[in-house]
């Protein structure tokens, strides 16, 4: 049953990206949205929504990172830092930790704003850096932030983190122990995220990002303030992961530093590379495929292995699987499964040159 969600979504997104007709495209996305909304009428298995809500959180993160890396071309290897900041914002402001209990819905905005501010703070020192150097510095930030949370024991509970986070309410009804409400929340946030990301893509700011990515000096000659444009990308991208962090923390009801390791940043980046960096449908497909592997296929492989008394734990090889997928995609379709026209042309040209 769970496969159906992934197959239908990936299929619809690919179909929508194949057509040039805007009406049909919108219709397909609207139909998909409606289908996902009413799916719980037919599928009463809450475990499915647990997986799908997690998938939604990662899709949200991927959409955010896509703004930074895909649109503005700023290679960020420490994106999980903002995910951590969003999660800890919820943990500190809706738990017995400080006896502050702000409502979930308000915290979505607050955490997004906090993450956006940290996006600017951590983005500012990197403005003059490009390419490899930027990647190294962001990687450092990605390591520093969980370390800070781990060592500020007085405020963050140290390595064991903060637990007993508030369960969200909707119009007085507690979300309880069910995953279904989180599924709907992520669905709503993804719709919002997709709308914002596709708006900004075709706008003054979106063009400025692409221009910076292509030729920063020429972009400045177009009157583009590259400083504010880059900071806008960092903060907007961070805001997305702030939202994701709030849902993640409230759903798990506990946060700890080890949820935000380097591998999380890499996983999200891998989603972009797999799907097609800079192209929103590609990002959706990439993140669905990797979460499908991660949350569905590997656990099921384990169950099968256990049934035939095979003593392997497939969830331990997930890094190997990402690696294999990435190497495969680099060899056979380096622009990603569903690239933008731009990215395809870029890579074709780059490869053509290096072969010549």
């Amino acid at each position: 049953m769970i496969y159906l969600y992934y197959l239908v979504t990936i299929g619809t997104v690919i179909a929508a990206s194949r057509t040039e007709r805007l009406g049909l495209k919108r219709g397909l996305y609207a139909g998909l949205g409606a289908l996902l909304l009413i799916a719980p009428l037919f599928d009463r298995n809450d475990a499915d929504y647990n997986i799908l809500a997690d998938t939604g959180i990662f899709l949200l993160l991927a959409l955010g990172l896509n703004i930074v890396v895909g649109f503005a071309g700023l290679l960020d290897l420490g994106y999980a830092a903002f995910f951590a900041i969003g999660s800890y914002s919820y943990a500190m402001l809706a738990s017995p930790q400080f006896n502050v209990h702000l409502p979930f819905w308000a915290l979505l905005f607050i955490a997004a704003a906090i993450a956006a501010i940290f996006g600017i703070l951590l983005g500012a020192p990197t403005l003059r850096l490009r390419g490899d150097y930027l990647a190294i510095v962001t990687l450092g930030f990605g390591e520093i932030v969980p370390q800070v949370f781990q060592n500020l024991t007085k405020y963050t509970g140290g390595p064991s983190g903060i637990s007993g986070l508030d369960t969200p309410n909707f119009l007085g009804h507690s979300f309880g122990v069910f995953s279904l409400p989180y599924y709907y929340v992520t669905l709503g946030l993804i719709a919002l995220g997709l709308w914002l990301a596709s708006n900004v893509r075709n706008s003054r700011l979106g063009r400025a990002w692409v221009a910076i990515r292509e030729d920063e000096l020429a972009a400045r000659h177009m009157g583009i303030n590259t400083t504010t444009a880059k900071l806008a990308a960092f903060s907007l991208g961070a805001a997305f992961s702030g939202l994701g962090g709030v849902v993640f923390a409230s759903k798990l009801s506990v946060v700890s530093p080890d949820s935000f390791q380097f591998s999380v940043s890499i996983l999200i980046l891998a989603m972009l590379v797999l799907g097609g960096m800079g192209n929103i449908p590609g990002v959706i497909v990439g993140s669905l495929i990797l979460t499908l592997v991660n949350s569905v296929l590997l656990p099921q492989a384990n169950t099968i292995a256990a049934a035939i008394h095979l003593n392997v734990d497939f969830t331990n090889v997930h890094l190997f699987i990402y690696g294999a997928i990435l190497v495969g995609i680099m060899l056979f379709k380096p622009e990603g499964l569903l690239p933008s026209r731009k990215r395809r042309a870029e890579l074709r040209t780059a490869l053509g040159k290096s072969e010549a």
Binding site: N199, S203, R207, A211, D215, A218, M222, K342
Partner: protein, 253 residues
């Protein structure tokens, strides 16, 4: 008042003096050319005007305001646009998007207009798009609006770069070797285009090696040699200036 005023401008890179005490004034509506042998410092002057380099000493004023030491994007927004000697288009953006990016300084859409596609943002986007298409028409690229800039033929890329520079509605347009690599026909078209741009009210300052083009189009010529201005005047004066002939056109036989 002069539109562009350069006084005592010098730029040193370590021990090398690229520009030496340069003085120059450009009046509104003029077409002025800067010529000189390779390495004379012509492109450096453009880079100083647009703020890519900070001057070692001297002043640059534009429309009465000092612009030296201002960041490039503010100089561009103030109304100085340029093209580059080695074309710097956004190669993997469509021709239309290139020109629309050039319209950046004219636009007022804020972050939320971009994010939320507010009515204001949408209307502005529509206006800017229509104007970009007009500009593509002006340089004869209306058929290539959706083509990637990088896949256009060389001459078209030069013209697209001019359209992109014009998109910000500049008061002063700096053209860095606009005719480089063009065939005679394209050069004739370029001549007409430059005149048309001036007729629209834009002042033009160009660097060019093609002497026949320079002599035909410029009202005034400045000659640079080893970073210093060695002569300045009408094409006829320059042609007969002994210092210029020696430094640049070659000693008379």
């Amino acid at each position: 008042m002069a539109l562009l005023e350069i006084a005592e401008l010098s730029k040193r890179f370590g021990g090398l003096t690229a520009v030496q005490k340069l003085g120059l004034e450009i009046e509104p509506g003029e077409i002025v050319a800067m010529i000189g042998p390779n390495g004379a410092g012509k492109s450096t002057v453009f880079n100083l005007i647009t703020g890519v380099y900070a001057p070692s000493s001297g002043r640059i004023s534009f429309a009465g305001t000092r612009i030296d030491r201002r960041p490039t994007y503010r100089i561009a927004s103030a109304g100085i646009a340029r093209t580059f000697q080695n074309i710097r288009l956004f190669a993997f953006m469509s021709a239309l998007d290139n020109v629309m990016t050039g319209e950046h300084p004219l636009m007022h859409a804020k972050l939320w207009d971009s994010l939320l596609h507010t009515p204001f943002g949408r209307n502005e986007e529509k206006r800017v798009r229509a104007r970009a298409l007009d500009l593509l028409g002006l340089v004869g690229l209306d058929g290539d609006a959706q083509t990637f800039a990088g896949s256009l033929p060389y001459g078209s890329q030069r013209r697209l770069e001019i359209a992109r520079a014009l998109a910000g509605n500049p008061k002063l347009l700096l053209l860095d070797e606009p005719a480089a690599g063009m065939n005679p026909r394209e050069k004739t078209d370029l001549l007409a285009l430059i005149r048309e741009i001036r007729a629209l009210g834009t002042t033009i300052f160009l660097i060019e090696h093609d002497m026949s083009l320079v002599m035909q189009i410029s009202e005034r010529i400045v000659v640079l040699d080893h970073g210093e201005s060695i002569a300045s005047g009408t094409p006829a004066q320059i042609r007969s200036d002994p210092a210029v002939i020696e430094a640049y056109l070659g000693a008379p036989r």
